[in-house]
């Protein structure tokens, strides 16, 4: 038997993941031995670790396009953008959720630990260049998320949400794995580059068969209609801190999953998956908008409106072009920062024994806290996609790529969907500004100074991105240039 000489992989390329693993282990050990009731040392180690990991990612991987670990791992510009986004979102999630979790007695070191491992899984997905590594990342991300959803152990709603998430997530993983096994069977390789070559050379039924299952698996992880049934229950049942994390970071990672596996890996089959993705996008926009109209729970409303945005992200994939992927990535990045701030406001208004979950709780927010009413106004207007906000540029880029791809009707449909979405987003603005609060005065903003500062900065960043979107657009487009 002959074997290739063992080659030591280029470890510096994979430094961000190695660093994150070290941070997660350090948080575990620090939390074990600190004995601090508020887990302050673990919190600071985690936050500093996340920020430094973002810096390391830019340092180690920006401007490159190389693979290492025998082609299993890729470092390129797309990986940098998505990883930095995921890391910053995790940072925001930690900053927002600290008071919230402490008041509910859920502040445990394991929250940081599981979130960090989940983040590590997302980073692995984003830089994966073979089916095996991709699946490893998906499982590391998902298993940590299932445990996080179940963190509120005494609550039946959380247990139900965790159970649903686990069973449906396992089903999705099974679908994904089945599709991957088909791809492996048809191409004889786990390496995505080799799979692309084989797929380009010959068209086989088995490949398309595998493609269908992988698309279904990825759509499950996204929560795209018609594979969306778990999303509202999980959003509502999970602690808001975890909902924030799932709604933002895992979606960004899913964009990476799609582009690596289907967008680039199965690029030669674009003609086959284009219509599948188009169907998912249109169904998501339709169902998301119509059902979000009648929601009274703001977490459920955000869950259903997520479908609308996932629809837009999928629309960007339809073209299969660099512009399309860049538009989708820009959409996912800006959307997740906007939604992170929206969940931040929800947690700001929640206090012990009270969840600001109903739309009524936002009545007259302007009188109680003009600053955060303004932040909420900004977020909702941006999510609607009104010109001048970052949401508008994201929608515009996606729709332009769809028009370029020649799918005119889908572009028209998306615009109509955005107009329908205006109703339920602007309803929140109306509640904040024009309605009188309930008799007892409604929930007051709580939370420490640091929390308020980060939230205000998050809102401001959404505003600034709306005023000066050029730089981020350029970065997203350059990632696929």
């Amino acid at each position: 038997m002959t074997t290739d000489a063992f080659e030591i992989p280029n470890l510096t390329l994979a430094l961000p993941e190695i660093w994150m693993l070290g941070v997660a282990c350090l948080v575990l050990v620090v939390d074990l031995f600190s004995g601090d009731r508020d887990h302050t040392p673990a919190y600071w180690v985690a936050q500093l670790g996340l920020l430094s990991a973002a810096l390391i990612t830019v340092q180690a991987q920006w401007g490159l396009d190389v693979t290492t670990f025998d082609g299993n791992y890729v470092a390129d510009a797309m990986a940098v953008v998505l990883k930095v986004t995921v890391l910053l979102l995790t940072f925001l999630a930690f900053a927002y959720s600290r008071d919230y979790l402490r008041e509910r007695g859920m502040l445990r070191g394991e929250f940081y630990l599981l979130s960090l491992f989940s983040t590590l899984g997302m980073m692995v997905i984003i830089s994966a260049h073979s089916l095996l590594v991709l699946y490893l990342g998906v499982e590391l991300m998902s298993l940590s998320l299932y445990a996080l959803v179940a963190m509120r152990r005494g609550s039946p709603a959380a247990s139900e949400a965790a159970m649903k998430y686990f069973v449906l997530g396992a089903l999705a993983s099974g679908m994904l794995l089945y599709g991957m096994s088909m791809l492996y069977g048809a191409t004889g390789s786990l390496d995505l580059a080799a799979i692309t070559d084989v797929a380009a050379a010959e068209s086989r039924l088995l490949l398309v068969f595998g493609l269908v299952f992988t698309v279904v698996g990825v759509a499950f992880k996204f929560g795209a209609v018609p594979f969306h049934m778990w999303v509202p229950d999980v959003y509502q049942g999970a602690p808001t801190a975890v909902t924030l994390f799932i709604a933002t970071a895992s979606k960004v990672a899913a964009v990476g999953l799609f582009i690596r596996l289907i967008g680039e890996g199965l690029e030669p089959l674009h003609g086959d998956w284009q219509n599948m993705v188009l169907l998912l996008a249109v169904a998501s926009i339709l169902i998301g908008n119509t059902v979000a109209l009648v929601q009274t729970n703001i977490k459920r409303m955000l869950a259903y409106s997520t479908f609308n945005h996932i629809g837009f992200i999928f629309l960007g994939f339809v073209a299969g072009s660099a512009e399309g992927y860049g538009a989708s990535m820009f959409y996912a990045v800006t959307y997740s920062f906007t939604v992170a701030a929206a969940f931040g406001v929800i947690m700001l208004l929640s206090r012990q024994g009270f969840e600001a979950e109903n739309l009524e709780d936002f009545k007259g927010l302007n009188e109680r806290s003009p600053l955060f009413a303004l932040v909420m106004l900004l977020l909702m207007v941006s999510l609607t996609g009104i010109p001048g906000t970052v949401g508008f540029y994201a929608k515009w880029l996606v729709i332009r790529s769809v028009v370029d791809a020649g799918v005119m009707w889908a572009a028209v449909f998306a615009v109509i969907g955005a107009v329908v979405g205006a109703f339920y987003y602007l309803r929140v603005v109306r509640l904040c500004y024009f309605d009188q609060p309930e008799a007892e005065g409604g929930p007051q903003p709580s939370g420490s100074g640091g929390f308020r500062f980060v939230l205000a900065a998050n809102g401001l960043s959404v505003l600034l991105l709306g005023l000066f979107p050029g730089a981020l657009v350029a970065v997203c487009m350059a990632a696929f240039g």
């Binding site: 063992f6 030591i8 693993l21 282990c25 575990l28 050990v29 074990l32 031995f33």
Partner: protein, 118 residues
């Protein structure tokens, strides 16, 4: 390409067939003369003490989990030890890293009291 799998299909058919034939043959050909003593359950010759479907401590699962983790560690260590002179410093460092990560997990379970039976 599917033709390559024919031997596996044959193997499955033969395996299932043989299993079924043996069970059915035993069922048909075996002598059956049941009496009370033969049908009653027993534990090592004694009368059964209690129902076999009883609750047992969740900590058994914990012990089983820990066992699997360290069993796997051994399963990795053995082949590594055999080729130790070939893997070089990189191999030693990689295994050291693996052991450190396991050690952190061990530290966690120890501090959290997973090893305390009471």
């Amino acid at each position: 390409m599917l033709a390559e799998y024919v031997p596996i299909l044959l193997f499955i058919i033969v395996g299932l067939g043989l299993g079924a034939v043996l069970i059915v043959a035993g069922f048909i050909l075996g002598p059956r003369r049941p009496d009370e003593e033969k049908l009653s359950p027993y534990e090592c010759g004694f009368e059964a003490f209690e129902d076999s479907r009883m609750r047992f401590d969740v900590r058994y699962y914990l012990v089983a989990l820990l066992f699997i983790i360290f069993d796997l560690e051994i399963a990795f260590l053995f082949p590594w030890a055999i080729v130790l002179d070939e893997v070089g410093l990189f191999g030693v460092a990689a295994m050291g890293l693996f052991l450190v990560i396991l050690l952190i997990g061990f530290l966690y379970e120890w501090k959290k009291g997973a090893l305390e039976w009471e």
